[in-house]
């Protein structure tokens, strides 16, 4: 957990330096952002139902060159049992993704890459979901250059769950509104996200999130 946090901080520190170098090549566009999300985790181990919620903070970086695009996200936080749910241990949440994409149309981007989410409980080994997925993001302009809506769907074509160990399937979606300030390299995003992982013959885990992201475009 600590190792991952150090990695995230190092990555965030590297982004401005990378941005400066890319600026010299001029055709790159780089965007960084930080978000806070209220996540609701619903787990169904065996026949029971568990519901936890909490805050997860995420950093992201997106680099674009021509039609090619890359996105990195890393976040962590924790979720605790909601009122009315039998007392459950607090879970730390660490999640991240590394995607490469292609802008097939100005409004459509296709992605591929891994993403993972780990739930850590002290005294118990981590429970980690890892998926290789394909995604599609569609965008529509409301106020050209200022406000866009977007919908992103993903489907995992390969996945694993670490505990209990086994192959997993998953899919998810994210949709919302993205706002860019005029004449300022700042942006914000309000989004709703939901995904679900399943293991054959085993319980499933569903994560919902309401996220608010603010970002900066150091290179355009």
């Amino acid at each position: 957990m600590r190792r991952a946090l150090i990695f995230a901080c190092a990555a965030a520190a590297c982004v401005p330096a990378v941005a400066v170098r890319l600026h010299a090549q001029s055709r790159w566009e780089v965007s960084i952002g930080a978000s806070g999300a209220r996540e609701i985790v619903r787990s169904r181990p065996a026949s029971t139902r568990e519901r936890r919620s909490g805050l997860v903070f995420t950093g992201e970086a997106v680099a674009t060159r021509g039609r090619l695009i890359a996105r990195l996200r890393y976040g962590q936080g924790h979720v605790t049992a909601d009122t009315g749910t039998p007392l459950l241990p607090r879970r730390d949440v660490v999640e991240g993704e590394a995607l490469v994409g292609y802008k097939a149309r100005p409004w459509l981007t296709l992605w591929v890459g891994p993403h993972a989410r780990t739930f850590a409980v002290s005294g118990v080994s981590d429970r980690r979901w890892l998926f290789w997925s394909g995604r599609a993001t569609a965008r529509g302009s409301l106020f050209p250059g200022r406000v866009e809506s977007f919908v992103e769907l993903w489907q995992g074509f390969s996945g694993r769950l670490s505990r209990p160990a086994g192959s997993a399937t998953g899919r998810g979606a994210e949709a919302g509104l993205e706002l860019r300030l005029a004449r300022r390299p700042l942006w914000a995003r309000l989004a709703y996200r939901i995904d679900q992982g399943r293991v054959a013959g085993e319980p499933r885990e569903t994560v919902e999130a309401l996220t608010l992201t603010v970002g900066y475009v150091p290179l355009r």
Partner: protein, 357 residues
């Protein structure tokens, strides 16, 4: 034998000369005898002689002044014979023949003068004469025709085609004693001369009740002497393809609304697609509602249906240019019409009585 031949020749000459002497008697001579009989108060004889005089149709017929003289004597004779209806009909015939005719007050008694005056006032009709052959510059010169009225009444004078269609109204209003009717050679548009052909000036007389009483009609034949009577066509108005939309179209507004509305609906449906069976939170409605409202705001910001001043000004410019072209063509047509020489030949006038005397 020679004596017999001379006798036959003499008889033949006598027979040949007899008809011409009889025909001369049935013309002016009959009128003279009729007037003499009237003066002798032999009214029955006078009436017969005068009717015979008016009935002569051959080359020995009465000259127009003698016709009028015969008619007034006949009217007086019939009145004095106490045939009032016949006197009225004869007087009306005289009014139609010459609305300006007045009986001699020294010859005829007051009751004849009174009767004729009453008939004249009750018989609205005009007469007149157009120059038999004249040439004018259409638009700048005029054909003048003086009309004479039997009495004060309302008339309408029109130039009509062969089919009776009015080409131009020349005068509408009252006429007292006389009136000069003028036509400048142009049709009702005032910009061009009518094409060559047969026309007529028709003057309709109306009685006191406004009913059509008589039509005085002068046939005209229009010929083009030189110049161009045909006209340039008016330019077509600007085509729709050249005009810009004067109102903000709905398309951009709908294109702005669609991403917001579709994304809003999609967000609300995401849990059922991705994680069916789970009780999703209400967070999706917060985000979906926000996106939908943003889409509506984006659509309204396009101001669908609002006027576009720049496009309105552009279209006004096009329309103004078209109107200038139309005015220019009208001016050029008028100039052509002015340059054209129009030959006008007038025929013999006739008086038509639509409903009988």
């Amino acid at each position: 034998m020679k004596r017999a031949l001379l006798l036959l020749a003499g008889l033949w000459l006598g027979v040949s000369a007899a008809p011409s002497a009889g025909a001369a008697q049935s013309g002016a001579a009959l009128l003279t005898q009729g007037v003499r009989a009237y003066d002798d108060l032999e009214f029955d004889q006078a009436a017969g002689l005068l009717r015979r005089a008016l009935a002569v149709q051959s080359g020995e017929a009465l000259a127009p002044p003698d016709v009028k003289r015969a008619l007034i004597y006949l009217a007086a004779t019939e009145l004095l014979r106490e045939h009032r209806d016949s006197a009225v009909a004869t007087s009306r015939r005289l009014v139609l023949l010459d609305p300006r005719f007045r009986p001699d007050e020294l010859i005829f008694p007051p009751q004849v003068l009174t009767l004729y005056e009453a008939v004249r006032r009750a018989t609205p009709v005009v007469t007149g004469r157009a120059p038999p052959d004249t040439t004018i510059h259409a638009g700048s010169e005029e054909l003048a025709m003086r009309l004479y009225a039997s009495a004060f009444h309302d008339i309408t004078a029109k130039l009509v085609g062969e089919d009776g269609r009015a080409v131009r109204t020349l005068y509408t209003g009252p006429i007292a004693d006389s009136l000069v009717l003028r036509w400048n050679g142009l049709d009702s548009t005032g910009t061009r001369a009518p094409p060559p052909g047969r026309y007529a000036i028709a003057v309709s007389s109306f009685d006191r009740q406004g009913r059509l009483a008589r039509i005085f009609r002068v046939p005209l034949e229009l010929v083009q002497v030189f110049g161009r009577i045909d006209t340039l066509p008016h330019p077509a108005p600007p085509a729709d393809s050249l005009l810009w939309s004067e109102r903000q179209p709905m398309g951009p507004a709908l294109r702005a609304l669609a991403p917001g509305a579709l994304a809003g609906v999609a967000i609300a449906l995401l849990p059922s697609v991705v994680a069916s069976g789970e009780d999703a939170s209400g967070a999706r409605f917060v985000v979906g509602g926000t996106v939908t409202i943003a889409g509506i705001a984006a659509a309204l910001s396009r101001h669908p249906g609002r006027a576009i001043p720049a496009n309105v000004a552009h279209n006004d410019t096009l329309r103004a240019a078209w109107r200038r072209d139309v005015d220019d063509v009208a001016r050029r047509n008028a100039a052509r019409a002015r340059e054209a020489m129009l030959g006008i030949r007038a025929g013999a006038p006739v008086v038509l009585t639509p409903e009988g005397p």
